[in-house]
């Protein structure tokens, strides 16, 4: 076996895309499939520079539809396979990811969001929330981690492989162009040395023995003949997902233990601006708290509601025109709380802008 790419623990400084490549190496990913698109391409480039040294593989496909389907294929063959895409590439990925939802294929895809609609900008946004959480046709089930920086990118890329393979749902690491390109320190580590065991992978086809004789038949299907059959399958998947959701959800809260004048809801890198706004608001005599869902799907609804119950008002902040807001409204349905917004599609948000918005709204 090849040497381990990451040994022990080390404090390092690099770009977020490079972090993702190192994390996938540390997570013992076997192969990456991909098609270039900024700001994702460096993940591929670092993977292709680093991977061969550790016996890992890469396939560049002709487009994102192929990248998605080959990732599905790699997983079916029993490989810990992953991809990365963004923007219009993410749009094309929804077809294969929908298949992964139907067939319960544990793919992992990293999405450093860029601006949209369409080709738009290569820089940054949080505008791929709706598509990444609910992008497939039908009603598929998937897991989405929204990261807020380099340590998250490392931790959750590793975790995504285990969540995907443990629960058998396609899993996404939702970053953004800022995280992809910015530089900051983080600790990289060998998961084994932190007691993180990578969930074993296995082929989903070509199993030994005779189906129906030595083992049950393995049905990998995305096509059903009757609506009754489909109903049973979708309901079974839904039931599995609902059961797993409480084990999967993750969140962070800041200063939400006491009564608040305002609760800031933000996810991903914008959460860091919300965290930065809290001490500034305190200086202004405003009691503010912040709740950050880490999983956008499944959403930690109960936890968000618990925090919201203690606040007079809610402020939803995102680098999009209401995609996260939609998830918040769904989660807080029935609560009598006024919701203010700071919606900046495709543009970053600073702590000061959040403070200004809150002062203006008083």
């Amino acid at each position: 076996m090849s040497e381990k790419p990451v040994k022990g623990e080390r404090r390092v400084f690099m770009t977020g895309n490079e972090v993702c490549a190192w994390a996938a190496l540390a997570a013992e990913a076997d192969i990456m499939y991909g098609y270039p698109i900024t700001p994702q391409t460096d993940i591929m480039q670092y993977w292709t520079r680093l991977g061969p040294k550790f016996g890992r593989k890469f396939l560049q496909t002709e487009d994102e539809i192929s990248a998605g389907f080959t990732t599905v294929g790699g997983v079916i063959a029993g490989k810990r396979a992953f991809s990365a895409t963004t923007g219009p590439g993410n749009t094309l990925f929804q077809e294969p990811m929908s298949m992964a939802e139907m067939m319960r294929i544990p793919t992992v895809v990293i999405i450093p969001q860029r601006g949209g609609p369409s080709t738009a900008t290569v820089i940054y946004s949080q505008q791929e929330v709706t598509m990444t959480t609910f992008g497939g046709n039908g009603e598929g089930f998937r897991i989405v981690y929204s990261t807020a920086g380099h340590q998250d990118l490392y931790d959750y890329t590793i975790k995504a492989f285990n969540t995907a393979w443990k629960y058998r749902f396609p899993t996404f690491v939702l970053g953004d162009g800022y995280q992809a390109k910015m530089r900051e320190p983080l600790t990289i580590y060998d998961p084994a040395e932190r007691g993180i065991k990578m969930v074993e992978t296995e082929p989903l086809v070509g199993l030994p023995g005779t189906p129906g004789v030595d083992r049950p038949a393995q049905y990998l299907r995305n096509t059903y003949n009757t609506e009754e059959e489909l109903y049973d399958v979708v309901m079974d998947i839904a039931k599995d997902y609902e059961k797993a959701a409480p084990e999967i959800i993750e969140w962070q809260d800041f200063d939400t233990d006491t009564e608040m004048d305002v609760l800031i809801l933000a996810h991903g890198v914008v959460s860091r601006s919300a965290q930065g706004a809290l001490p500034l608001l305190k200086d202004e005599g405003i009691r503010a708290g912040h709740f950050r869902p880490i999983t956008l799907r499944p959403m930690p609804e109960e936890q968000m509601r618990r925090a919201a119950a203690k606040a007079k008002r809610i402020l939803v902040v995102e680098s999009a025109y209401g995609q996260f807001l939609k998830l918040v409204k769904q989660s807080l349905y029935g609560m009598d709380k006024p919701i203010d917004t700071l919606l900046r599609p495709g543009v970053g948000v600073t702590a000061e802008e959040i403070v200004d918005r809150i002062k203006e709204g008083r």
């Binding site: 390092v12 400084f13 690099m14 460096d42």
Partner: protein
């Protein structure tokens, strides 16, 4: 000694991996030359992803007196994601009067851009410095650095820019100085200097423990909000 002071035309290119600190060192070098009353042009040569890097700092640097050749938002209207893109001002950058500092983007491939710069192969003053940080896992060991520098092509010297952003300590910098100096010896190249951020300036004398000169740099890139 009497006589007139002759201003030497400095032409320096900073190459290196993403996050090694090329832009910081290029900006600081430009400002250093400017403080010596030289006319200085700073060129942002990232052809692949020109909308990152120096773009957000361009105006502030120009106000400090530098001639900055970099894309600005109003120039990029309508270009979209244009793929490889070269501003004509960049092709002719070496024809500028005075000293010239080139910030060569895009990691290992960036150095190939010299093929596109008029006069790069004949300019007698051109010095290429590789900015290296051992806090980047890809250039963390002597062996990795040696291999990496050989891949880069023509390099005249190394710069120890080992750091962990705001978490940098003198030990981090000194460890970098040690590993990079070892690599430089194997490559037969000088270590031009060890970069130390202003916040740690008082922790260093004129040289690091390996005897390389210390250069105090101010950090600009944290202000780059694309």
């Amino acid at each position: 000694m009497g006589g007139c002071i002759k201003t030497v035309r400095v032409v320096e290119a900073f190459v290196g991996e993403y996050a090694s600190g090329k832009s910081e060192n290029a900006i600081n070098r430009s400002l250093e030359l400017l403080s010596q009353n030289q006319k200085v042009t700073l060129v942002d040569l990232d052809t692949v992803e020109p909308f990152y890097t120096l773009r957000p700092l361009k105006k502030a640097l120009q106000e400090m007196g530098l001639n900055v050749i970099a894309w600005s938002p109003e120039q990029t209207m309508g270009l979209g994601e244009a793929g490889s893109l070269l501003n004509p001002e960049m092709i002719w950058a070496l024809k500028n009067e005075g000293s010239i500092v080139l910030d060569i983007g895009y990691g290992v491939h960036g150095a190939k851009i010299f093929n596109l710069i008029e006069g790069a192969d004949t300019d007698p003053n051109l010095q290429v410095y590789a900015v290296v940080s051992i806090a980047r896992p890809m250039t963390a060991t002597k062996e990795d650095i040696v291999r990496y520098i050989k891949d880069l092509g023509n390099v005249d010297g190394l710069i120890n820019n080992t750091h962990l952003g705001s978490e940098t300590t003198p030990d981090v910098i000194e460890e970098g100085a040690w590993v990079i100096t070892e690599a430089a010896r194997e490559l037969g190249l000088p270590v031009m200097y060890t970069a130390v951020c202003q916040e740690l300036a008082d922790k260093f004398a004129n040289t690091d423990k390996m005897g390389n000169p210390i250069k105090i740099i101010r950090r600009f890139m944290p202000q780059a909000f694309w």
